[in-house]
């Protein structure tokens, strides 16, 4: 069942609700860039409905300037998110939230998770990661697999580097992400960080540890690298795999009261 949740500044969200009972943790997905709330190829419409069937209330809505939401003149992004959480809490009684999404939504989720103590979990799909040595190593390895003519092109591009996807992201100051993750973990925030093979900035799984240091392997952090998938999960099979993975993570990390779900019972990696 889906209901419409009125939000501030002439906006609204779609609230997927469980048919019976409800987990005390609700989930909120933000826009992936300029794609309206249903997500790339309806990813978040489908994910919301699967998670609702698993017992969670799930809200998807448009941030200012995207989809049906008015432009950002009346309310900035963080205000809009705070308002959405307030109204979701009032509508469902849920006082804890799992938030996040894909690309810029992961960035928005990161900022909100730091600022709002109600956030208990963060889903980061192609979220923050720094380049570092492992990225250089993976790039070099990729380049060597190609023909020598592309080597010169790569060198030429490095002389006058183009705008990269990391330039377009809203990430914290370089180096502060370690302390920020530590602060989240100290608050018992659980993190699912999943990276696809569709970005230019995340090329090697060891980048995760080099970005976040020792916190990367601490309890509460789940890291996955899916190098065979693209950034927007173009293939239906990839979307199904992602939906299944997030559902399993939710069920194991935030089990519904009285449920006896174990990781082995759900879909694996």
């Amino acid at each position: 069942m889906e209901a419409i949740l009125p939000l501030a500044a002439e906006s609204f969200g779609l609230l997927s609700l469980p048919s019976s009972g409800s987990n005390p943790i609700a989930i909120v997905f933000f826009n992936a860039g300029f794609i309206h709330r249903s997500g790339p190829y309806r990813l978040f419409t489908r994910l919301s409905r699967v998670l609702a069937a698993a017992g969670y209330a799930v809200l998807r809505f448009d941030l200012p300037g995207v989809g049906d939401a008015p432009s950002a003149t009346d309310m900035d992004e963080q205000q809009a998110i705070r308002d959405a959480l307030d109204r979701l809490q009032a509508a469902t009684g849920c006082s804890g939230f799992v938030i996040g999404g894909l690309c810029s939504a992961a960035d928005s989720g990161w900022k909100t998770a730091l600022a709002d103590p109600r956030v208990r979990g963060l889903v980061m799909l192609d979220g923050i990661a720094r380049n570092g040595l492992w990225h250089k190593y993976a790039r070099l390895r990729r380049m060597l697999r190609r023909s020598p003519s592309t080597w010169f092109k790569t060198v030429r591009n490095n002389v006058a580097p183009a705008v990269t996807d990391t330039d377009l992201r809203d990430w914290p100051a370089a180096g502060s992400e370690r302390a920020e993750l530590q602060a989240m973990l100290a608050r018992q925030v659980s993190v699912l960080a999943l990276y696809t093979g569709g970005t230019a900035y995340f090329l090697h799984p060891r980048q995760f540890r080099s970005t976040f240091g020792g916190s990367a392997t601490r309890r509460g952090v789940t890291f996955e690298h899916w190098p065979d998938t693209d950034h927007v999960f173009f293939l239906d099979a990839h979307r199904e795999r992602l939906i299944s993975r997030i559902e399993t993570w939710m069920r194991t990390t935030f089990p519904s009261p009285g449920s006896h779900f174990h990781a082995s019972a759900g879909a694996g990696r």
């Binding site: 300029f34 190829y41 569709g198 173009f234």
Partner: protein
Amino acid sequence: MTQAPVPAPLHLGPPERPVFAVLHATAQPPRAQLLLCPPILNEHARSYRLFSVLARHLAAQGIAVLRFDYYGTGDSGGDDDAFTLGSACDDAMLASAHLADVAGSVPAFVMGVRAGGLVAIETASRTRASGGLVLWQPIADWTDYLRETGALDARQRAAIPAGHAISKDTLMGFALSKDFHAHAAGLATWPGDGHVGRTIVIGDDAAPVGVGATTIPAPPSLTRWTGQAEMGTFPNTQIRDVAAALAGAMGVV
């Protein structure tokens, strides 16, 4: 131009088959009503913001607008393969009836964007739309449209790291219903004699123009999104200008 009420989201149809819609009502009694049939596949999400903003501007001009997602698309119920062009026409009829209830007896227009034009033509014919038909960058040749969309699909697949073979069961990331192509073949791409009222075409210079159609040119910033997989923004002032021109062509000034 007046400040229109806040757009109102709603669900149409029975609970087991919800069709999501957004009503853009007018501040004063409306002078016309317009049902907006969206494009399909990747073009739906790509243009969603454009037509949300356009509807706001039209409502401010005194035109009540109802936008909706076909069943199996966007925020409506159903899996992707539940969408067919035949069921889309039924959804449009449902939405048209709701809009008529809200807007009353003012002239009724049906607008179709790209492939939504097929749905709009069918709906205008079935409802005998008193105002007429509005086609935004209509598809003149369904075969060409499928070929171009298929080429875009192939480019998207080529960007998948693991690679993936082209499938006839999906197009631009969406699972197709078994009768997707059959339904398309049965629908007209251009209004025939059965159409009621006038036709307004919005598009770039390349837009096909039927006999007697009124044309409204749209700037490239509002037309070049077709055939693009990447998302982008649309300039508000140019959307407002097109809305004003459309309101004029509809006789609402």
